[in-house]
């Protein structure tokens, strides 16, 4: 499915909430959308376009804003579709994709704990990988790893 075809078919459903459809090698295209249209887009992508299989949900911290991306696979097209939306860093939340794709459950939990993006109406939004007590979000750019030398000093005293 070419990007222009995608734009034709998604445009009427989403209207202005469809921001752009860019070509992206390895996938059918990269659909950028505004977060208000998230659920409608997911439904359209799954039911109308046939991308029934959700492969990945992830988030990137771009310091000033955060990007949440979804990758879905269609058995008919034999190709991936890349969806992404930008969220303001101060108020990063987007509608959860779990009603459409149950597979999104754990992916969204991971994105929540790693990049601090909240998913509205998620059935069970808690930490997946790190202990619940961890108050930080490791994949934020502001979170720095230990310097190896600093670690030496720190552990020598333990």
């Amino acid at each position: 499915m070419q990007p222009d075809v995608l734009r034709e078919r998604l445009g009427p459903i989403l209207g202005p909430r469809l921001l752009a459809v860019e070509p992206f090698a390895g996938t059918a295209g990269r659909v950028r959308f505004a977060r208000e249209g998230a659920l409608e887009l997911f439904r359209a992508v799954r039911d109308t376009l046939g991308y029934r299989h959700l492969a990945m949900v992830g988030a990137i911290d771009w310091v000033d804003h955060r990007e949440v991306f979804y990758v879905a696979w269609s058995d008919e097209e034999r190709d991936y579709l890349f969806l992404s939306t930008d969220l303001p860093a101060s108020d990063a939340h987007v509608e959860s994709a779990t009603p459409v794709w149950p597979a999104a459950n754990w992916h969204e939990r991971e994105a929540f704990e790693m990049v601090d993006v909240r998913f509205d109406h998620h059935p069970d939004l808690r930490h997946l990988l790190t202990p619940d007590e961890y108050a930080f979000h490791p994949l934020l750019r502001s979170f720095k790893l230990h310097e190896p030398e600093e670690l030496e000093v720190k552990t020598r005293n333990v």
Binding site: R52, I60, D75, R78, D79, W106, L129, T130, P138
Partner: protein, 378 residues
């Protein structure tokens, strides 16, 4: 009654915890608890050069290191706008398939232990060691290979490698009969494995389940065919599919995949014998030709501009379909690396395929999922 299976439990084959609510011996509800092996690989990758991330990939999935290197390398090459030579593509295909055999043998070894068979564990480990010897002869390590480089592979195959590989493949191909005798021809095996852990094709798709689990439900889907990468469009093989969606079907699919892998290996060996050539791309950015000069940690690149890009890759690794997403913003480190492991989804679907069976069925069912916790937790 809730019982905890893990993190130290013979069933888990790794570091995770399966919390199970049972009523008598029947499973009512499960809640997998992950993260005991979360090592922050995605975060560490942001502090490493593109080639140095490869050392992490081997440790992300420790039973299929080369497949994960391949996964990352494709995405990184796309993000950096590089093209590997054809011989490197074939070597990667060969490595992937050898790795598939090794990984499936490891799965077999773990799985038969789960149903109480002791002997085939030893047979599978014995034959897997032969494959690992082959890996060692050209990558230099048994498990953590560090063999792929952005733009190709580190070194060419040593002399005599193809002959040795052919011999080992012949030997292993004959061994599959033994494995089937011990499992498939055993009455108790069928009593244990037939009709348990059923996950229908529709549920598989909804829950993002891929790989042998999906193909055991009758869905003919294999990225090597559907979306060929490396040299998979130039070799002949068949997709192993079974119907039944139960533990036996997964066993059949994996066994058939190993046979097909032997077939692919033979074809790539023939090609590699006939077509010598370079294995690393000519024009690499200086800081990528790993052997030649690293860039250092202080950032010498600041005075130069490099192309930016995003890379997305998806390969059929032994456990299923894995995806990688690499964002290159022109620095010497990747800006963000995101991996998706097939086992991640396969375990998440446990709440779908475990309830209703008995406690004694948990080991074969979870064994048939082929869990590698390293790639789930990363």
């Amino acid at each position: 009654m809730w019982i905890n299976m893990g993190p130290q439990h013979p069933m888990t084959h790794g570091l995770w915890n399966l919390r199970v609510r049972i009523e008598g011996e029947i499973i009512e509800e499960v809640d997998p608890e992950m993260g005991y092996l979360h090592r922050g690989i995605e975060k560490i990758s942001e502090d490493r050069h593109y080639n140095e991330v490869i050392t992490l990939m081997d440790r992300t999935c420790y039973v299929a290191g080369l497949a994960w290197e391949h996964l990352y390398i494709i995405a990184a090459e796309q993000a950096l706008h590089l093209e590997p030579p054809e011989r490197a593509q074939y070597i990667r295909t060969l490595s992937d398939e050898l790795q598939r055999i090794a990984s499936h043998l490891m799965w077999y070894a773990a799985f038969v232990q789960d149903i109480g068979l002791m002997t085939p564990f030893l047979y599978a480990m014995r034959d897997r060691d032969l494959v690992l010897d082959l890996f060692q002869s050209y990558t230099g390590a048994r498990m953590t290979y560090e063999y792929n480089r952005v733009g190709g592979v580190r070194n060419d195959l040593p002399t005599g490698f193809t002959d040795r590989t052919r011999k080992v493949m012949d030997w292993i191909y004959a061994r599959f009969v033994d494995y089937d005798h011990l499992c498939l021809d055993s009455d108790i095996f069928h009593r244990r494995c037939d009709g348990i852990g059923v996950l229908s094709a529709r549920d598989c798709v909804d829950w993002g389940v891929t790989g042998p689990m999906l193909r055991s439900a009758g869905v003919r889907r294999d990225l090597r065919k559907d979306r060929p990468y490396a040299a998979y469009d130039r070799v002949e093989f068949d997709v192993a599919v079974a119907d039944g969606a139960d533990v036996t079907a997964r066993y059949l699919v994996r066994m058939e995949e190993m046979r097909q892998a032997v077939r692919i290996v033979r074809q790539t060996l023939d090609w590699l014998d006939k077509n010598p050539g370079p294995v690393l791309a000519d024009r690499l950015p200086r800081w990528l030709g790993a052997p030649y000069a690293p860039v250092g940690r202080e950032g010498y690149l600041l005075k130069r501009n490099f192309p930016t890009g995003r890379g997305f890759s998806s390969v059929e690794e032994p456990h299923g379909e894995a995806q990688a997403y690499v964002v290159n913003t022109g620095g010497e480190h990747p800006y963000r690396v995101k991996f998706r492991s097939p086992v991640f989804a396969n375990i998440a679907a446990a709440q779908k395929y475990l309830p209703g069976y008995r406690v004694a069925d948990i080991p074969p069912i979870m064994g048939s999922v082929d869990i590698c916790v390293g790639e789930v937790d990363r």
